[in-house]
């Protein structure tokens, strides 16, 4: 008799995996422009002259892959944060990571920094540095109080960081002119138009490492539900698990935000939707949420770039339009 968990997990992976693959395959084929697929795939035409191929492989494919990467990462990080903080309302942005990233991006945009590292644009690098700084500060604050890692202090430190960085952002905005403010606003609404594979290639190693940590964290996250003391008596090294959870999820979020901006609602809708359908066991929820998150963001981005063609809506608006009502429904249902 095969383990029921293995069976359920296999089924979930198959289902959500199929949806993800479908999304990633269809998305580059749809857009605001008509693309001649035969011409795009015609090897005889040199790539530099093949506009259809360029639209497919320079504009759309990196964008789809970015959507899949960012969606999977934010959804999985959301699951981890909710498990770590034992709170279904936690998001990847609760602990200050996105505020740090936003500050970094804004500084780069306002002061026109142009240091590209290995082909990665300055805004991307700066926003990741900002995210890292925020994570470091929150972690340091949460550790300073006691030997372990208190989730209450984490939460307080994170919320404080959010407020502090938001204030800094307003301060920097004072030095920005109109165009820079506008561009910062657009960044804050999310932008998956990466235009090349370089930002993805740079983000993948870190995200992959984070996902390995997530795989290990699946069972500890189940146990953490019992409370820190309860989990400890089950034989879990709670402090180590919390540390790994916080750092891996925060850095993964930082990477995702530096690629596509702080796209909201994925980190909270997807975990909830998936839990509704698969139950609460993190060994199923984590991989399922990652796959569903990828499909979800790719779909939202597809809507964002075709709904008002040729003009594009920022993808963060679409996720908010879908996420807001869903979130309200969740709250009403719980009440």
């Amino acid at each position: 008799m095969a383990s029921p968990l293995r069976r359920r997990r296999a089924l979930a992976l198959l289902t959500y995996g199929s949806i993800a693959v479908l999304a990633v395959v269809i998305s580059p084929l749809v857009g605001s422009t008509d693309v001649d697929l035969a011409r795009a795939l015609d090897r005889r035409i040199p790539f530099a002259e093949n506009a259809d191929a360029q639209i497919l492989f320079v504009a759309r494919l990196p964008r789809t892959l970015a959507g899949a990467l960012v969606g999977a990462t934010l959804a999985a990080a959301g699951v981890v944060f909710q498990g770590l903080l034992r709170n279904p309302l936690a998001t990847p942005f609760t602990l200050g990571v996105s505020a740090g990233a936003a500050l970094g991006a804004m500084l780069a945009i306002t002061f026109g920094w142009s240091f590209g590292t290995a082909g990665v644009p300055a805004v991307t690098t700066a926003s990741f540095a900002g995210a890292g700084a925020a994570v470091g500060i929150v972690y340091g604050l949460a550790r300073a109080r006691q030997r372990g890692l208190s989730t209450e202090v984490l939460l307080l430190a994170g919320v404080t960081m959010n407020a502090f960085f938001s204030a800094l952002i307003l301060f920097v905005q004072y030095f920005a002119d109109f165009a820079e403010t506008y561009r910062t606003l657009r960044w804050l609404m999310g932008d998956l138009d990466v235009g090349s594979y370089t930002p993805l290639v740079t983000a993948v190693p870190l995200v992959a490492l984070a996902f390995v940590a997530f795989a290990w964290l699946a069972r500890p996250l189940n146990l953490l539900n019992l409370g820190a003391a309860g989990a400890e008596t089950h034989g879990l090294d709670v402090t180590r698990a919390q540390r790994i959870a916080f750092i891996s999820a925060s850095l993964a979020t930082g990477a995702a935000v530096s690629v596509g901006g702080p796209i909201g609602f994925i980190g909270i809708i997807v975990p909830h939707l998936v839990r509704l359908m698969t139950g609460a066991d993190h060994r199923i929820v984590l991989p399922a949420a990652a796959l569903f998150g990828a499909a979800f963001l790719v779909a939202c981005d597809l809507v964002a770039r075709t709904a008002m063609a040729p003009i594009e809506l920022p993808v963060g608006i679409i996720t908010a339009l879908v996420g807001g009502p869903f979130f309200l429904w969740l709250l009403v249902r719980k009440a």
Binding site: N225, L226, H234, G235, L236
Partner: protein, 269 residues
């Protein structure tokens, strides 16, 4: 044999914060049934945390079969000893079976999934606590008494029927009404007899302790007031020293154990 030798503990820097436990000693032999009694703030929960290895004593040692807990691996310790906390609140909707399955954690490798043997142990634990019919129900929808029994089942799944398995319970009757209190007492007695468990409960319910425990430790303000067999320790003078209450202690034939009836508060203490 689980023993705490002269342990002290305080939250915060030693020497700076008021001590919670001062030189307390406790022991329970294999198959024993011990109770830790005391008013709120006496250090009962702290002693339980030291005994389970969740906290390290500032001085003194806690040993299991002579080995210092600090030298035992977490998983190894968890396979011998389980704790039933005062209350279990889950943030997400796990089923009863999933909660019990969590007890198998210390028996599995990092990426190992529970096998048929593990599931059989979990189902057996549910049967032992009479909760098999609740297997697929979400844990959060259960009543207090049912939750209690499921958590005990999880503890059983964790320590199995290994020799010298120890069950620690923190205020097991705190949230239960009278019927469930009797149920829990009966369940614990049954389990102890059938599975040869060592049981330690920390409680402020004197009669509950009297009905189950063969030995008692009385704690007040972090110090041991009295320790020994229940018959000897549970007496009017010790109860007065512990609670500032004048009480009548007598053997109740129908119940089959000592019963404590508080009579009046002792003024001026």
């Amino acid at each position: 044999m689980l023993r705490a030798a002269d342990v002290s503990f305080s939250y915060g820097r030693p020497g700076r914060a008021p001590g919670v436990l001062h030189g307390a000693s406790f022991e329970v032999e294999d198959g024993g049934f011990a109770g830790i009694l005391g008013p709120n703030g006496s250090g009962k929960t702290t002693l339980l945390r030291l005994l389970s290895g969740t906290a390290r004593p500032a001085s003194g040692r806690v040993t299991l079969d002579g080995r210092d807990l600090a030298t035992m691996g977490r998983a190894a310790l968890a396979r011998r000893m389980a704790v039933v906390p005062q209350e279990t609140r889950l943030a997400f909707e796990y089923s009863v079976l999933e909660v019990v399955t969590m007890g198998r954690y210390p028996h599995l490798g990092a990426f190992e999934v529970e096998g048929p043997a593990d599931l059989a142990i979990c189902r057996d634990a549910l049967a032992q606590t009479g909760t098999s019919h609740l297997e697929d129900r979400p844990f959060t929808t259960l009543s207090g008494g049912e939750k209690q029994r499921v958590v005990i089942a999880a503890a059983l799944a964790q320590i199995g029927s290994s020799h010298g398995a120890i069950l620690l319970l923190d205020e097991p009757t705190a949230a239960l009404d009278l019927g469930y209190q009797l149920e829990t007492a009966r369940l614990l007695r049954d389990l102890q007899a059938r599975l040869r468990l060592t049981v330690v409960i920390s409680t402020h319910d004197l009669n509950f302790a009297a009905s189950l425990c063969r030995s008692l430790l009385l704690l007040r303000d972090g110090r041991v007031l009295a320790a020994g067999p229940t018959d000897r320790v549970l007496a009017p003078d010790t109860i007065a020293a512990l609670y500032d209450v004048e009480a009548d202690v007598r053997h109740h034939d129908a119940a089959g154990h000592l019963v404590v009836v508080p009579v009046a508060r002792i003024a001026g203490r």
